[in-house]
Amino acid sequence: MKDSLVLLGRVPAHPDSRCWFLAWNPAGTLLASCGGDRRIRIWGTEVDEEDEYECVSVLNSHTQDVKHVVWHPSQELLASASYDDTVKLYREEEDDWVCCATLEGHESTVWSLAFDPSGQRLASCSDDRTVRIWRQYLPGNEQGVACSGSDPSWKCICTLSGFHSRTIYDIAWCQLTGALATACGDDAIRVFQEDPNSDPQQPTFSLTAHLHQAHSQDVNCVAWNPKEPGLLASCSDDGEVAFWKYQRPEGL
């Protein structure tokens, strides 16, 4: 068993600090890491050196701990969530990565992020007990949303407040069903779905599941199974992992 997991390499990614989160890009060519040193590092390999990872870029935009990073499902775009209450987006420019947008609106630490299946919208969850949905507007968009230069703008199009009574630690957007699950410090798991006739520019979401005491302590993370619709996993400060089956209620 000892040889079934073999070390390829180690890198001092966030020296004198903690590394909180990692994410591979969809193409599998880059890894983003973030941590308590307020930085995000992007790691890649040289063309002919497949097992040697080196730092491709250091992103230094956040002013506080970076809690979470997530890649866009189809564009080379990275999003990050921070203790500084903002969400930032980054893209590649020439040989480096740059911050192309800062999303402000949350009133406290942003803990996690999730893109919707199309990649046009981003959901963020926060210590301020709200979920915000942001939409990408490209330059020259029909809605008249201003963009600076060739970078898209991101606007908050929906805020879900009054549903969570403590910090929301994680959010997951099901790529199969579009359902949004949240992990909360009040020990509950909630699921939201977009209303069928909702306006794309001002969508409304309804709470379709609310499980009190999903765990006996804070729920830290939720994850939708990528192949089986409605299959959800969660984990908690109580040390347990739980598996759930979600079905959209009739009439909602």
Partner: protein, 128 residues
């Protein structure tokens, strides 16, 4: 600032765990909540400041009125403690410290620092 936040948060979680506040069959009466608040206050008032030879009560960092206990449901209580850092006339300091204390990742990280942990242990030691 970071020391204060680490100290208080870890201390509070330890203190509340040790005191075992849940009581089966407690009726929902405002008076019982006040008694519980006093119980909590009694536990925290003798905690010492890491840098001065005084207790948090003496330094007016905590007071009786700063503790509130709410019953969420049977056997489940929410304890709210408001404290004032020793930086005068600075409400921003309070916000900064409260935000740090309420971030469990940051508190966990701070408490893994052995020096900080030792300081916290010292501040919580019951006087002989």
């Amino acid at each position: 600032m970071q020391r204060v936040s680490g100290l208080l948060s870890w201390t509070l979680s330890r203190v509340l765990w040790l005191s075992g506040l849940s009581e089966p069959g407690a009726a929902r009466q405002p008076r019982i909540m006040e008694e519980k608040a006093l119980e909590v206050y009694d536990l925290i008032r003798t905690i010492r400041d890491p840098e001065k030879p005084n207790t948090l009560e003496e330094l007016e960092v905590v007071s009786e009125s700063c503790v509130e206990v709410q019953e969420i449901n049977e056997e489940e209580y929410l304890v709210i403690i408001r404290f004032t850092p020793t930086v005068p006339h600075c409400s921003l300091a309070t916000l900064i410290v409260n935000k740090q204390i309420n971030d469990k990742e940051r508190v966990a990280a701070a408490m893994e620092n052995p020096n900080l942990r030792e300081i916290v242990e010292q501040c919580v030691l019951e006087p002989d």
